[in-house]
C-alpha cells in the first residue's frame, strides 16, 4: 500500500502502534510493518514528522533517553490520544462497513 492511499489513516495507524506502550520511531515502524504484513510502502523518514505532529496535537507525548550513547526519542499515547484512537477506529469501522455493503450490493448497516 502506497503513502497516498494512507492519507487520512496514518495518524490512526501510528496511534494504534503506540497503544501497547511507549515506542521510539523505529519501533513504531517495525510495529506497523508487522501489523500490515509488510505491505506498507511508506518512506520511513516521514514517520518521524508524523509522530511530532501527533505530539503537537497532544495525542502523544515524547521524551528523550540515551541508548548506547545515542539520543533516542520515545513516544507514548496520552489520554487524548487514546480517545482519538477509539474515535478513529469507530469511524473506520463505519466507513469500511458502508463501502463493503455498497460493493457487495447489500444494505448498509446502521452506525453503532
Amino acid at each position: 500500500m502506497r503513502g497516498e492511499e494512507l492519507k487520512g489513516h496514518l495518524d490512526a495507524l501510528l496511534l494504534a502502534a503506540l497503544e501497547d506502550g511507549p515506542r521510539h520511531g523505529y519501533a513504531v515502524i517495525e510495529a506497523l510493518r508487522e501489523s500490515t504484513g509488510g505491505r506498507l510502502d511508506l518512506p520511513t523518514g516521514t514517520i518521524y514528522p508524523a509522530l511530532r505532529r501527533l505530539e503537537q496535537a497532544g495525542l502523544t507525548a515524547g521524551s528523550w533517553s540515551v541508548v548506547a550513547g545515542r539520543q533516542r526519542r520515545e513516544y507514548r499515547l496520552t489520554s487524548a490520544g487514546s480517545r482519538a484512537l477509539s474515535g478513529k477506529r469507530a469511524d473506520w469501522q463505519d466507513f469500511a462497513a458502508m463501502i463493503s455493503a455498497a460493493l457487495e450490493g447489500r444494505p448498509c448497516p446502521r452506525p453503532a
Binding site: 521510539h24 523505529y26 520511513t44 523518514g45 518521524y48 514528522p49 511530532r52 503537537q56 539520543q71 526519542r73
Partner: protein, 191 residues
C-alpha cells in the same frame, strides 16, 4: 560509495536544514534501519544504501518537518492578521491627521522599509521549505513586528494628546499582536 559516507552525507543534508534534536532522532532511526538490513544479511554498503532508500529523500523529510514548524504557523497567522491591524492603523492615522505630525521623513522612510522587510520575512517563514531558514525568518519577523508596533504605540502616545476611538482600536490591535508575537517568538526560538 562507502556505507559511512552514504549515511554521513544523508545526515549532513538533513543537518543543514533541520534543528539538531530532529536530526538526532532521524540518525537513531536510520542507524536502526541499517542494523535491520545488516541482520538480514546485506553487506555494510548494501545495508546503508537500503536504509537511506527506505528513509526517503531528505527534502521530503525536511518539508514534512517544516510544515510543523512553529515559525510557519506564527508567520501565517501574522500575515493573516496584518491587514486587520494595518486597517486599524490606517483609520487611526487618517483620523489623527498623521501627515501633520512632527515625524522626520527619514524616520517615516525607515518605518516603511522595515514594514516591507517584515512582510518579506513573514512570507519566507510562511511558505519556505527549509525548517532552519523558516525559523530564522520567523524570528526576525517577530522582532521586526514587535519593533514596529512599539514604535507606533510610542509615536501615537506622544503625537495625540486625546485618544479617539480609531486610535484606541489600533492601540488595542497592536497590543494584542504584541502579546501574540511575544509568545510566538518564544515558540519559534525553542521549536
Amino acid at each position: 560509495m562507502p556505507e559511512t559516507s552514504l549515511i554521513t552525507d544523508y545526515l549532513t543534508a538533513l543537518s543543514a536544514q533541520l534543528p539538531a534534536p530532529m536530526v538526532e532522532e532521524l540518525a537513531d532511526g536510520l542507524d536502526q534501519t541499517r542494523q535491520h538490513y545488516l541482520r538480514q544479511g546485506l553487506t555494510p554498503d548494501g545495508a546503508a544504501g537500503a536504509a537511506v532508500a527506505e528513509f526517503g529523500a531528505p527534502q521530503v523529510i525536511v518539508a514534512a518537518f517544516t510544515r510543523l514548524s512553529p515559525a510557519r504557523h506564527a508567520a501565517r497567522r501574522l500575515l493573516a492578521a496584518g491587514p486587520v491591524v494595518g486597517g486599524c492603523w490606517a483609520a487611526a492615522l487618517i483620523t489623527g491627521r498623521a501627515w501633520t505630525w512632527p515625524v522626520p521623513a527619514a524616520a517615516r522612510l525607515l518605518f516603511g522599509v522595515t514594514l516591507i522587510t517584515v512582510i518579506g520575512l513573514l512570507t519566507a517563514a510562511a511558505f519556505g521549505r527549509r525548517y532552519i531558514s523558516a525559523r530564522r525568518a520567523g524570528a526576525a519577523a517577530c522582532i521586526g513586528i514587535t519593533t514596529l508596533d512599539g514604535v507606533m504605540l510610542i509615536t501615537v502616545m506622544l503625537a495625540i494628546p486625546v485618544l479617539i476611538w480609531p486610535v484606541i482600536l489600533a492601540v488595542a490591535a497592536s497590543a494584542a499582536r504584541l502579546t501574540f508575537t511575544a509568545r510566538a517568538l518564544r515558540a519559534v526560538l525553542t521549536g
